[in-house]
């Protein structure tokens, strides 16, 4: 009988202690970020989808070696290049990224010897169409240069 009342007392007390903590939290500052009214800045290492790094003249550093294409576990990168007169090496003509398959592992960025690609900081990519996730990175670079 004594144990019963003891439990009744300690149990009721525990509920009030819980309530005290909950009410105490009401006086603490807010921690919720009101997205989309506020957005947080992405850290420098944030991994968005990849993009080409522009050189000073707006072109890219890609040498069309195809290492990114081969290292990609999901095969989401397609690159193509051609020989042009007066230019040493190959010139990039197509850089297609199928972001629907990408898992942002970073193998392509790691394997890129000339350092032509990097992670973008884009994260607002919601869409209802699959085509919106297939990026033409060369076109993206040109638009960025404008």
């Amino acid at each position: 009988m004594g144990a019963y009342f003891k439990e009744l007392f300690s149990g009721t007390k525990s509920l009030f202690v819980g309530l005290q903590i909950t009410f105490g939290q009401m006086l603490k500052p807010l921690v919720t970020q009101q997205y989309p009214y506020e957005t947080s800045t992405m850290t420098p290492r944030f991994r968005g989808h990849i993009e080409l790094i522009p050189k000073e003249d707006g072109t890219n550093k890609c040498i069309v070696c195809g290492m990114c294409m081969r290292s990609c576990p999901s095969g989401c990168i397609t690159v193509a290049g051609e020989k042009r007169e007066g230019v040493k090496g190959k010139v990039l003509t197509k850089y297609r990224l199928d972001f629907t398959k990408c898992s942002l592992c970073g193998m392509c960025v790691e394997s890129c010897r000339p350092g032509a690609i990097t992670f973008s900081k884009d994260y607002n990519l919601a869409s209802t169409r699959k085509e919106d996730y297939i990026f033409d990175l060369l076109k993206r670079l040109e638009e960025k240069a404008k």
Partner: protein
């Protein structure tokens, strides 16, 4: 113990089949449990798996060793770095790659941070299963700090792909050490609050104490590991029993409770948060300077012919990875022994004769992550 057959009216009693899941908040994903019920009591429970099976083991056989790395982060989405660690250590063992000391320290720090964040999610979700909502919000507030820290280093928030064979993807930034110390300080202040709010709460005690006892023999029979085993008095932790990485250099306790009930498993995880913080503190104090990547790691990995095994302690228990190499750049066979698969398999035996809400408390205390069970 004889199992009553499903839909077998024993003693002329009416029984019925209740489908728990595959979309049910308490099953934390797509786990389906076929329950044969006698009123509120469970006569027989049969977990049905495979709803999120993605053939990760088979995928390991048809891509190169390095290309399988992103997959490891997608099995156990709550402690992805443990899986990263297991696979990286396995291939390093096969190739005989020495990992620089700084990389090993950073691996331990990030894995232990990940373990705390995993336990915080479990804490919130478990109390949510039992009907309490607010602890989840507190837990996610603290977890947010860990995710921010890990994001600043690894670049992702949940499905990390940070470890590489022979080291790490990149070194930590200057804010990481201070941020981690700051987090540990705030977490030390928050833990007593968790205990006051939840652990000492009479409702939680009534729901968990002496509920869902898992005897030591059952643990051994099903090969359950991790906090589930340690809550039943089985003193087993890979970090101490089969040391890997630089865990032997740290001084930490392995919490073991002998009560075998859901409360014991709850307490093991709460104590593990404290122990993980101890490990992180020691690692931060000792953190050496140096490279984070081993020199001369071959670009194309071809481990010598053989059979390799590496076990690590994930947040849920012993994670075993076994690779058979035939000397080519792809694995001949990759076997993943996931801890929750074994932990779940004892549910059928233990839940027999239990009340349905108690069985859900038991299931919550097992800390199930379904993508890891199905792989």
């Amino acid at each position: 113990m004889s199992h009553p057959l499903p839909l077998n009216n024993q003693d002329n009693q009416e029984s019925f089949v209740l489908n728990l899941g595959p979309q049910h908040p308490a099953t934390h994903g797509v786990l389906r449990v076929k329950l044969t019920m006698d009123g509120e009591y469970i006569m027989h429970a049969e977990p049905v798996l495979g709803y999120i099976h993605r053939m990760h083991e088979k995928m390991g056989e048809n891509r190169t060793w390095a290309q399988f790395m992103p997959n490891t982060g997608r099995m156990d989405y709550l402690s992805a770095l443990s899986f990263n660690h297991g696979y990286a250590a396995l291939v390093e063992r096969a190739m005989g790659i020495e990992v620089p000391e700084r990389a090993e320290y950073l691996r331990v720090i990030t894995v232990e941070l990940n373990r705390i964040s995993s336990h915080l999610v479990w804490f919130g979700a478990f109390i949510l299963d039992l009907g309490g909502f607010s602890p989840l919000l507190y837990a996610f507030d603290d977890r947010e700090h860990i995710l921010d820290l890990l994001e600043s280093v690894t670049g992702s928030r949940l499905t990390y792909c940070y470890f590489r064979f022979g080291g790490l993807y990149n070194d930590i930034d200057e804010n990481f050490v201070d941020g981690t110390r700051e987090f540990i300080k705030t977490m030390r202040e928050r833990l007593p609050m968790y205990h006051n709010l939840v652990t000492k709460n009479i409702i939680l005690i009534k729901r968990l104490k002496d509920i869902g006892p898992i005897p030591k023999e059952t643990i051994r029979k099903y090969g359950a590991t991790g906090p589930v085993a340690r809550g039943s008095g089985v003193d087993y932790d890979i970090r101490r029993n089969e040391p890997y990485s630089i865990y032997p250099e740290f001084d930490f306790d392995i919490p073991v409770y002998t009560e075998c009930d859901s409360m014991a498993r709850y307490m093991v995880r709460m104590d593990e948060i404290e122990q993980s913080m101890r490990i992180i503190e020691q690692a931060l104090d000792k953190l050496p300077e140096g490279p984070v990547m081993a020199p001369k790691v071959p670009k194309i990995l071809k481990p010598p012919k053989g059979d390799y095994y590496q076990a690590v302690e994930s947040a849920r228990g012993s994670l075993g990875m076994r690779a058979v190499s035939d000397g080519t750049n792809k694995a001949y066979r990759l076997k993943l022994r996931s801890p929750t698969f074994s932990n779940l398999s004892l549910f059928s035996e233990v839940s027999e004769g239990m009340l349905l809400p108690d069985a859900l408390a038991l299931m919550g205390s097992l800390d199930l992550v379904i993508p890891e069970i199905d792989r």
